[in-house]
């Protein structure tokens, strides 16, 4: 149902505050004493916190919401929920409860809100969790998301920096959702790409996470707004670098073409600005592929660093589950460049 939700227009999509503005505020905030049970979240500016409540249970608390990037309210609800739930899976957790976060113009058709929340609720149920209510605000534009609570064994939290040289990188979803929806806003995306992107964005990372539990995963992150290279950059550090096999990257069919047609996003360029000095592209990696690797993903897949001996088995199981997973690179001993794209 096209145009059911007014797409954000002009400069109105101020979905996120600029990093400069944000950090100026954040750095002045008071901090209480560090709680030893707070495992993740005290120093970082994550949108998730992990709190240990007993020797075998830690609680993961997270939230995520944003304005629509698609016209269909039901699908938008699914995408927003899938995206919010993903934070739990990126930490290796299990979804338990969720609360709706809703901003909605009172004068707008309430059926639209019903469809958004129906899409969201279905995804929480699919994740094995329960929607327990939420909070709604009368606002000038639509925004939706979830606050999610999950659990994880404190010793089995996936870190994003635990990767070791020799580990294999596995990505569980295709890249290119940002480019595809950018093209879609100007009427240049083909139907197949849009439906590919939508089905990818509404696929929970649940099964990927559960499958990965059987293997020696050393690090994990979900690929979202910073793009593939932005999130990979969070996995590499002084003790480990990465090599990316660009020809192995799973891609939404039309995405490279949209990059060649210059339909890249502002966020993609910010991602490029942010990480490019840590990345070396080999000569054969063309412009479109570079843009794809910087492309911000909405509800993207999980990126695992897994023990090399386990990689083929894990990949086979992910693919048998219907995921377009691929081995997209490997971690190496620290090199001159943090990330080399071949």
């Amino acid at each position: 149902m096209p145009e059911e939700i007014k797409f954000c227009t002009g400069g109105g999509c101020t979905a996120k505050l600029g990093p400069g503005i944000l950090s100026r505020v954040l750095e002045k905030l008071p901090k209480g004493p560090a709680d030893p049970r707070l495992l993740i979240g005290y120093d970082s500016r994550d949108d998730a916190a992990v709190y240990k409540i007993s020797d075998d249970t830690a609680v993961i608390q997270t939230l995520d919401f944003f304005p629509p990037m698609i016209e269909d309210p039901y699908v938008f609800g699914q995408v927003a929920a899938t995206n919010a739930l993903s934070d739990i899976y990126a930490m290796g957790g299990t979804v338990r409860t969720a609360l709706n976060i809703v901003c909605f113009p009172q004068q707008m058709d309430l059926d639209i809100l019903g469809k958004i929340m129906q899409g969201g609720s279905e995804k929480v149920i699919e994740a094995g969790g329960t929607v327990c209510g939420g909070h709604s605000i009368n606002d000038t534009s639509v925004k939706y998301g979830l606050s999610v609570m999950g659990t994880v064994h404190p010793d089995r939290i996936y870190s994003n920096i635990g990767g070791r040289p020799g580990d294999v990188l596995i990505l569980t979803k295709k890249l290119g959702t940002g480019l595809t929806f950018s093209a879609h806003t100007v009427g240049e995306a083909d139907e197949k790409s849009v439906s590919d992107a939508l089905s990818s964005m509404t696929t929970l990372n649940r099964s990927a996470c559960e499958i990965s539990r059987k293997y020696r995963v050393h690090a994990c992150t979900d690929v979202t707004g910073f793009g593939f290279l932005g999130h990979l950059a969070e996995m590499v550090h002084a003790n480990v670098s990465a090599v990316v096999f660009s020809d192995k990257i799973p891609v939404i069919s039309g995405a490279l073409g949209y990059a060649d047609a210059f339909l890249y996003t502002a966020a993609g360029q910010r991602n490029r600005n942010h990480v490019q000095e840590r990345v070396h592209f080999a000569e054969n990696v063309n412009f479109a592929m570079q843009e794809l690797l910087f492309d911000p993903q909405t509800s993207g897949g999980l990126l695992f660093a897994v023990h090399a001996e386990d990689a083929e088995g894990m990949l086979a199981e992910l693919r048998a589950d219907g995921l377009p997973a691929a081995i997209v690179g490997e971690l190496t001993a620290p090199g001159k460049n943090d990330i080399i794209v071949e």
Partner: protein, 269 residues
């Protein structure tokens, strides 16, 4: 010159508008695109580079930028030939790794990018398409946002370089040479993969950000790409230049000290 107003438009709209306009141009022609944020400047520059077209940008005011893309003079122009252009761009890229090789007149930079040779030496100010990809302005507080992105915050760029210019001459010995070197240095900054976050002018350095400076175009280019240009207010006053500042803004010693202390590296030519 054709002008497109893309103020208030969110990417990819400014690029799409520019692309459509370029398709209808047969040249020789210049296309000016007006946008309200630096990321749009970078995205337009990125397109021009991919198309092999010379591009220049400048900041006209806060939230107001002009990006000018040139369509080659005629189809037989050597720069319209992609292979010639590609090698010229490679040369320009290589030269950026050794800034000193960009000669004092800046002509290698402009020529390399296929910019109008009439611009030649005196104004080597084109923001080279290749160079524009390499801006290090991730720390820019761009208030626009992409609906495609779900994350709430992009961390600041890792590098926070401040360039401190305290004299209008580079080095000591011969001031005439020093002036030429400084002009070349500032031009070279515009060509770097990663631009400095801030350029600070104090004492004699403030002459360079004021009326009569030969580096104004280059500094405006840097500013358009997200580098902050600040000049010491006390110094402007001392030299009677307060009314003559042409690029960036006035600052005070508190901010100068704070910027220098916070910088991860300080470059002093």
């Amino acid at each position: 010159m054709i002008t497109i107003n893309a103020m208030g438009e969110v990417c990819p709209i400014p690029v799409v508008k520019a692309r459509k306009a370029l398709e209808s141009l047969v040249g020789p022609e210049e296309l000016e695109v007006l946008v309200d944020n630096e990321i749009a400047v970078q995205n337009l520059s990125k397109m021009a580079e991919q198309k092999g077209l010379p591009v220049q940008s400048k900041k006209l005011a806060d939230d107001w930028f002009s990006v000018v893309i040139s369509v080659p003079v005629d189809p037989d122009d050597k720069f319209a030939n992609p292979s010639v252009l590609a090698s010229a761009m490679t040369a320009a890229k290589l030269s950026r790794s050794a800034a000193a090789e960009i000669n004092a007149s800046g002509s290698m930079g402009t020529g390399g990018m296929g910019a109008g040779s009439a611009e030649g030496g005196s104004k080597g100010s084109g923001i080279a398409g290749a160079g524009s990809m390499g801006t290090g302005s991730a720390g820019t507080p761009g208030a626009d946002a992409s609906a495609a992105s779900a994350d709430t915050c992009i961390p600041e760029a890792r590098k926070n370089t401040a360039v401190v210019i305290s004299s209008r001459y580079m080095g000591s010995g011969d001031d005439q040479l020093g002036a030429v070197l400084m002009k070349s240095f500032i031009f070279s900054l515009t060509q770097l993969e990663v631009l400095p976050k801030t350029v600070i002018f104090y004492n004699g350095g403030v002459h360079l950000s004021c009326e009569g400076s030969e580096s104004l175009q280059d500094l405006k280019s840097l500013e358009a790409m997200g580098t902050e240009i600040i000049s010491c207010g006390t110094c402007l006053n001392h030299y009677g230049l307060t009314e003559k500042l042409q690029v960036g803004r006035v600052t005070n010693m508190y901010e100068i000290a704070e910027t220098m202390l916070k910088a991860s590296s300080i470059v002093k030519p």
